[in-house]
Amino acid sequence: MTTSTSKDEFIERLRRSLKVSGDDKARRQAVAARLAAHAPNLVPERATGDAAHRTKLFIEQASAVQTTIDQVKTAAAIPAAVAHYLRQHNLPQALRHGADPLLKGLPWKKGAPSLAISEGRADPADDVSIAHAFAGVAETGTLILCSGADNPTTLNFLPETHIVVLEAGDLVGTYEEAWARLRARFGEGVMPRTVNMITGPSRTGDIEQTIELGAHGPRRLHVIIVGK
């Protein structure tokens, strides 16, 4: 690219302004240490507690931003819960999910015989999608979803109704705990292409500061928590 400046020249400008040199060992060590430690800073008290507290807080926080919640004891109960939710909201009995083993392995025919299931990334015509969360964060009722063939990112944004399965064991207190799990799964300093932190359905306040749901993303976000 001829139009842009070289990296070295660009960074040298920063060094001139900061009055530092690039081979200052102490500075390099400070940076390397911080990156290697990735230590949590101050973490809010509200997110500490046992599993029951986390579940309660997650439900409270998520409900406050118009996420709806259902709880089922086992994964086998998910299809019936989904079919029930769709009927309740008068939504089409059609659903799209990715290659996620948990979602693929569910007894859809048995639990939701009238549900038409398709697999893959979202199509603009899809009304309803279901995805499997990587984690849930109790602190703010936030879902964390990772991109890939299992749960393609388009499922999170194109359909009007987004259903998310969250295993109770994946419900953590804070963002920091979710990052620790992410590193354990993908490796140090490695990220999936996209990590979506989702807290409630799409909304906007751009017209006279009145909050309206369903600006561009899903109008409805429904979470099914599985297990205890």
Partner: protein, 471 residues
């Protein structure tokens, strides 16, 4: 973007006379301020998180060269490209080259204040590439040929009926008799119209709220989900970010995210916080095939190592605008450039020069609320004062002000004379005001008394009263 900051006083007079604007501005205090206060009260650690957030950015800025190196290595390791631009010109040319290389005819855009700063849309249009803003507020002002008047609520200066009129004018393919009175029907219409644009777009351009050095990740924070559709559906994603967006780790960004939404909209967390690292991976059924990051300096490195370095901690939450009595009265356009309110009054002179933006640091009552609410604890009033000093030193202050300050300076260095004259002045004004205690007009004070009465001194100066009461 062209600036009209030089004609700030005229802009202000126009803003006061604009009834539509004044009506729209009434939404600012009721919306943003109460919601922020409620969010702060729900989180006991809020103020300590602000300290932590400030410390993270201070550390990052002091080591910015090294964190940037690490960030670039990580982006390149996953197949992304990073382009370095020192000026707005360079950034525009780089983005247009990238778009042309990708054969782009239409680009969708997430909200980016830096794209406004470099006036990207004008440049794209001139290169026969159609830019489509997808954030609802940005979309509305694009239809109107305007610029944002607020850094997080670009259309806060508009009322619902104005938006309805614009939609009827531009969406002429839709039935004329449709009902568009409610905000919900306007949101729905924009959703339908823009859905087609996302699907037809060749390139998605977004800004970045943060860049993470640890992982080579860019982050956008939105509520609408428009940024996500913008960056996920087209074949390429271009991220436009300035140097001060860097943070070291995921943990560090978590701390700053805890104060961002609460300060901005009073939400516990925004609907969508999206972390993007490179292009589509093998086996991915969706996502962009190309991932480019354009890093912009545009004058910021000149702030490093100066008294204005603290300004680079800014995370663009807009709290200082919302709480500023001057912003509340005149809105954002009067400031005449991309960044309005207190943060703009400090930032704009750094980027476009005090000779052009000299009015802005003077547009402050120094009430201090901006610093009080700033999640990054930026000493905004102190920095506005610093700009006023520089303006004075550069002989840019008007002659009458310089003369007045000169006269005042003469007397204040001669305390006995100063006390004598202020004593005479106070008693004279008190006598002139009579029992009402207020003056309707006064020579040399027309600027004040044209709009309101001047409260008169009570009779004796503070120094005189202090002396009399001292045991």
């Amino acid at each position: 973007m062209e600036t009209s900051s030089t004609r700030f006083p005229a802009n202000v007079r126009e803003a006061f006379a604009d009834q539509q604007l004044q009506r729209a501005l009434r939404n600012v205090p009721t919306g943003f301020i109460k919601k922020r206060a409620a969010a702060r009260d729900r989180l006991p650690e809020f103020d300590r998180l602000r300290d932590a957030a400030r410390d993270i950015k201070n550390h990052t800025l002091a080591h910015l060269d090294l964190y940037l190196e690490r960030y670039v290595d990580k982006v390149e390791a996953v197949g992304g490209s990073v382009h370095f631009c020192t000026s707005a010109d360079q950034a525009r040319a780089t983005i247009i080259d990238l778009c042309k290389g990708l054969g782009a005819r239409t680009v969708t855009k997430g909200k980016s204040m830096i794209a406004e700063e470099i006036d990207l849309n004008t440049a794209l249009s001139a290169a026969a590439i159609t830019p489509v803003e997808t954030d609802l507020g940005e979309y509305i002002i694009q239809l109107r040929g305007e610029h944002p008047s607020h850094i997080i609520a670009p259309a806060v200066h508009l009322n619902k009926d104005q938006v309805e009129a614009d939609f009827r004018r531009v969406h002429s393919h839709l039935p004329r008799d449709r009902v568009l009175e409610e905000a919900s029907s306007l949101v729905n219409e924009a959703r339908q119209v823009l859905r087609e644009k996302y699907l037809a777009s060749d390139v998605g351009i977004t800004g970045a709220n943060f860049l993470i050095a640890e992982t080579g990740t860019s982050i956008i924070v939105t509520n609408e989900g428009n940024g996500d559709l913008t960056q996920t559906l087209p074949k390429a994603h271009i991220v436009l970010a300035s140097i001060e967006k860097l943070v070291p780790t995921l943990e560090d960004v978590s701390t700053i995210l805890r104060v961002l939404a609460r300060s901005a909209t009073g939400q516990e967390f925004s609907s969508y916080t999206t972390l993007s690292t490179g292009p589509r991976r093998p086996g991915d059924p969706d996502g962009p095939e190309h991932y480019h990051v354009v890093i912009l300096d545009n004058g910021r490195s000149n702030m490093l190592g100066t008294q204005f370095q603290d300004m680079l901690r800014c995370i663009r939450c807009g709290a200082c605008l919302n709480h500023c009595p001057v912003y509340q009265a005149i809105g954002g356009h009067a400031y005449g450039w991309v960044y309005p309110g207190p943060m703009g009054s400090v930032f704009t002179p750094s980027l476009i020069g005090i000779d052009k933006a000299g009015h802005l640091p003077n547009a402050s009552t120094f009430c201090g609320r901006c610093e009080e609410v700033c999640p990054m604890r930026i000493p905004l009033p102190k920095m506005m004062r610093a700009w006023r000093e520089r303006e004075f030193e550069a002989h840019l202050t008007p002659q009458s002000v310089r003369w007045g300050l000169g006269v005042w300076g003469f007397f204040v260095r001669r305390p006995a004379l100063y006390r004598l004259l202020t004593g005479i002045g106070a008693r004279t004004l008190s006598a002139m005001a009579g029992r009402r205690g207020r003056l309707k007009s006064l020579p040399l004070a027309g600027g004040w008394t044209a709009w309101r009465d001047l409260p008169a001194p009570s009779g004796e100066t503070f120094m005189a009263q202090w002396k009399a009461k001292k045991p």
